[in-house]
Amino acid sequence: MKNTITFLAGLIFGLGLIVSGMTNSANIIGFLDIAGHWNPSLALVMAGGIGIAFFAFRYTENKKLTLCNEPVHLPATRQLNKELIIGSLLFGTGWALAGFCPGPALVVLGTGNKQAGLFVLAMLIGMHGHDIFYKRLFNKAQEGN
């Protein structure tokens, strides 16, 4: 049953990206273009998502257990460091250039879109570039999220 729910969780998440318009890169760029004709969609998407997930996180933070009575795995890092900020700035720059972040890019790739495929391939190389080369070079401790 847990496997079915995991699949359904991904499916609902993916459908949510389509319904909300987040798989349309023009909506992302429209949100980030506050100096132009602003499209506030993303703000409502985040409000809707946080409005629901907030309660699930409250429940698990209190209980420390899942509904299947298993441990919850939440990132333990609390420290604000330069990797968090520089990484997020780089991420935001790429996000704005293409109007894609990882979730929507994968969904659009699922429709057989070659441009999304190119983006995902570059994203994969960027991830390996960080995890294999950058981290090894600077010997960073593993951080998960």
Binding site: T6, L8, A9, G10, L11, I12, F13, G16, V19, S20, G21, M22, T23, N24, S25, A26, N27, I29, G30, A35, G36, H37, N39, L44, V45, M46, G48, G49, I52, F57, H73, L74, P75, T77, L80, L84, I85, G87, S88, L89, F91, G92, T93, G94, W95, A96, C101, P102, G103, L106, V107, G110, N113, Q115, V120, A122, M123, I125, M127, N145
Partner: protein
């Protein structure tokens, strides 16, 4: 600088409904699996050859298969809202590299930090979200309104 709303492309009902679905998907993964729906982290784990056969790969693979299946299942009920991607291939490559590298360096992306992290009131995720939003606003300004 007055902000004008793009009502032609802004659909509040769909944005809110889609957002609620994202929250629902993230909540199901958390409540039943105890895991955070961070797409960049899940994807980055699965693309490492040494991880493919690990016990922790299964839930990640199932979640991503579900996510990508949305592209196949949605059109059964309604036309997929297709939109041409105006970005050039060169820009898509640079953007993909930045998104991949940056999401790993910053330990998350729009889903992990922007939705899950803010939902659990994580200060790290708030700082990450403000950082990527700021970079996004500035980049878009330069791309669309200068040069």
């Amino acid at each position: 600088m007055p902000i004008t709303i793009d009502w032609l492309h802004f659909n509040p009902e769909n944005a809110l409904l889609g957002g609620v679905m994202l929250g629902l998907g993230a909540s199901l993964l958390l409540l039943f699996n105890g895991k955070i729906a961070g797409i960049s982290g899940i994807f980055a784990y699965l693309i490492k050859p040494k991880n493919i056969f690990s016990a922790d790969a299964a839930w990640r693979a199932l979640f991503l298969i579900g996510l990508i299946s949305a592209a196949v299942i949605y059109p059964l009920f309604s036309a997929f809202p297709t939109a041409p991607i105006a970005t050039s291939n060169g820009t898509l490559i640079v953007a993909g590299l930045l998104v991949g590298f940056g999401s790993r360096m910053g330990s998350g992306c729009t889903s992990g930090h922007g939705i899950c992290g803010l939902s659990r009131l994580s200060l790290r995720s708030l700082v990450a979200t403000i950082s990527f939003m700021t970079a996004g606003f500035v980049t878009t300004y330069f791309v669309l309104h200068t040069g």
